[in-house]
């Protein structure tokens, strides 16, 4: 008998010997989209509590993703870690590096691994597995898509039912959609690809669409200045500089839906997390399509995973894993997707009656699922936030014409190499 199985046996003994003792779990979660996700999470945990009286879950809303990560790490450093946290999928390497998280594998049988872990879309697992182990369970995941204003399309003489399939088409349509007033000032732009704060996310979609990739799967190498990446940045900069279909400068992420509603931009790129918001507030008919690529379809995934934090007893962690399994089961996950607009991360969720009814009524939601076949991992490396910030600054420098795309990316690559050298 190995030490581990001995441990498990004794845990099982304790568990069975004292069934009346309730396990108390703490669970941090962020809210990053509109709608009522906080209430939905509360409803989920309440439903679980009702079915499992021996477990007590304290779901704590902890603000934005950044705030949640900050709080989880601060709490862990203080020796007060919660058992579960929903944090960005890109935080995986950082969490592993800081030894803050446990792998899920330790609490799963081989059958469970195949059946449960194997059921998630592979593109979501790219940011969730490392060295053959599963560290994150996809939950509130998203992917960016293109939204277009059908009324504006019709007005410009374009087919309102057909969005752009390729980058070239998007530029062409954008030119038809860009309107100017008598003074020569633009009143409606063709395209709006937001670039504030974290431009690397959408840009990595352009790179994927150009057949490029930004990192290896160990999180130790990045390829910021590959020819595909440079061409992708040149195409983005050209939208305002030579094509004249996008407003110059950094475009704010938070104001993007508003720019769309106000008719400032006829096509926008933003997350599927905005589907519910756009559906409720757009004063016109809108279409949703996959991101048009330079060579092929391509998009990143984004959003949050469940993480299992170190610092609790195995009994508590096992109970936490059971909750995660329950929360990602088809019925519960379908409720979650419908309430928030997040992409259901497993094929079997889309098969539920609820989801079928939902997508029949709102077929735009299916675009995200179909795009997953072309999706790549979001940029995630060791020292992830720092490396990503380097890239973000480089992209911002190119978009605001401080540097040429090649110059900016070469510099970012050199700095990233210096940081990542320690991990190779």
């Amino acid at each position: 008998m190995t030490l581990r199985s001995a441990l498990f046996a004794s845990i099982a003994l304790v568990t069975f010997a004292a069934p009346a003792q309730a396990v108390e779990l703490e669970f941090y979660f962020p809210v990053a989209v509109g709608g009522k996700p906080a209430e939905t999470v509360q409803a989920l945990t309440d439903a679980y509590l009702a079915a499992n009286p021996d477990v007590k879950i304290n779901a704590i809303y902890t603000g934005s993703y950044a705030d949640t990560t900050t709080k989880a790490i601060t709490a862990a450093r203080g020796g007060n870690a919660p058992q579960l946290v929903i944090s960005l999928s890109t935080d995986m390497y950082k969490f592993i590096d800081e030894e803050l998280v446990e792998s899920f594998d330790r609490f799963l049988s081989d059958a469970e691994k195949a059946e449960w872990i194997g059921g998630f879309y592979p593109s979501f697992m790219l940011n969730s597995q490392y060295e053959g182990q599963t560290w994150g369970i996809p939950f509130q995941r998203s992917t960016p898509v293109l939204y277009w204003n059908k009324a504006a399309f019709a007005e410009a003489g374009l087919d309102p039912e057909k969005g752009p399939a390729t980058w070239a088409e998007m530029v062409e349509m954008g030119k038809a959609l860009t309107k100017k007033d008598a003074n020569g000032n633009v009143t409606q732009w063709g395209v709006h690809i937001p670039s504030s704060g974290f431009p690397s996310w959408l840009w990595s979609g352009i790179v994927a669409g150009n057949g490029g990739k930004l990192q290896n799967d160990k999180g130790t190498e990045v390829y910021f200045n590959s020819p595909e990446a440079i061409a992708a940045l040149e195409a983005l900069v050209a939208l305002s500089q030579t094509d004249g279909v996008q407003a110059p400068g950094i475009l704010d992420w938070g104001g993007t839906p508003k720019a769309f509603f106000e008719g400032q931009a006829a096509m926008i790129w933003t997350t599927t997390g905005n589907l519910t918001n756009v559906r409720a507030n757009a004063p016109f008919e809108f279409g949703v399509g996959m991101l048009p690529g330079l060579k092929q379809p391509g998009a990143p995934t984004g959003g949050g995973n469940f993480y299992l934090m170190k610092g609790s007893s195995d009994e508590e962690l096992k109970a936490a894993v059971d909750f995660v399994k329950w929360a990602t089961a088809p019925e519960q996950a379908a409720d979650w997707t419908i309430a928030t607009g997040y992409v259901a991360p497993r094929a079997d969720i889309w098969e539920t009656e609820k989801m079928k009814a939902y997508t029949a009524d709102f077929p735009q939601a299916l675009v995200a699922r179909d795009q997953l076949d072309h999706a790549v991992a979001e940029l995630s490396t060791f020292e992830g936030p720092r490396v990503t910030q380097l890239l973000n600054s480089a992209l911002e420098a190119a978009i605001t014409l401080q540097k040429s795309p090649k110059e900016a990316l070469d510099a970012a690559q050199a700095e990233a190499d210096a940081i990542l050298a320690a991990y190779r």
Partner: protein
């Protein structure tokens, strides 16, 4: 007396109103967007329908009643402790001679410059060791000894004529009795002035409460407000502004009602 000429008056009033108009624009916009449907966030049409829907949405998105209670408990606790501790300390600095006085006063001034906000990580560790994470007490603790209050009250106490001291001493007043009977009453305007500064600061403080609180039972209003400030999906100005107005209304009303006393207390406090 130098007279204001009519021209002076017109110039001063015009410039004043122009600046005031500019300054009030954000509040005006908050009112506009909060009382109109979201579709009119960026459209200023006189015919836009009025609605209270945004307030209902904001109120429903977070337990604001509880957050109000938490914030009120917080600012009351912080201010009470600050006044007691800082009055004692300021009195010692203003009226007593003792070794190490200037060094200690220097240490007080240090806190005016190095705000506890900068030292989040260390302070979180301390709170954890004390077992106080996620309590309203922990939000307030780092601010209990306020360098600003000690400085302000010391300046005020120093303007009080020493003859009053001696008169009280002659009557057999103890040191604390002297503080209570002479200095506290005369220091009231300074305390009121400081009180208003402290309340408005802690009512609006964000970063430290965000880090140290975990639950609805302890979170203050600002942290509750940040639920709307999230920008991953897009800013909902109408709801954010409704929530902002709700949470700031008590302070706005308070200032409107007490502004004269407020200014006069600063005047008498001798911050000059």
């Amino acid at each position: 007396m130098i007279r204001e000429t009519p021209l002076d008056r017109i110039l001063m009033r015009t410039a004043g109103w122009l600046l005031a108009a500019l300054w009030i624009v954000p509040l005006t916009y908050a009112l506009w967007s909060a009382f109109h449907p979201a579709a009119f966030e960026a459209r200023f049409e006189l015919t836009a329908p009025l609605t209270l829907e945004n307030f209902v949405t904001a109120w429903g998105k977070a337990p604001f009643a509880r957050y109000f209670l938490n914030t009120i408990l917080l600012v009351t606790m912080v201010l009470t402790v600050q006044l007691v501790l800082c009055t004692l300390a300021a009195f010692a600095f203003a009226r007593l001679e003792f070794p190490g006085k200037s060094v200690l006063f220097g240490l007080v001034l240090v806190q005016l410059l190095i705000m506890p906000d900068i030292l989040l990580v260390e302070n979180y560790r301390t709170m954890f060791r004390l077992g106080l994470v996620d309590t309203i007490l922990a939000i307030g603790l780092p601010y209990f000894a306020s360098g600003f209050a000690i400085f302000l009250l010391r300046q005020t106490f120093r303007t009080i004529p020493k003859e009053l001291d001696e008169a009280a001493r002659v009557e057999g007043c103890s040191l604390l009795g002297l503080l209570w009977r002479v200095y506290v009453p005369l220091g009231k305007p300074a305390m009121l002035a400081f009180g208003l500064v402290s309340v408005s600061h802690h009512w609006n403080n964000f970063l430290w409460p965000l880090v140290i609180t975990n639950s609805v039972e302890t979170r203050p209003l600002t942290v509750g407000l940040s639920i709307f400030a999230t920008t991953d999906s897009g800013i909902e100005w109408a709801v954010i502004n409704a929530a902002t107005l709700m949470t700031s209304a008590p302070l706005l009303l308070g200032f409107l009602l007490f502004q004269r006393q407020f200014v006069q207390s600063f005047m008498r406090a001798g911050i000059k």
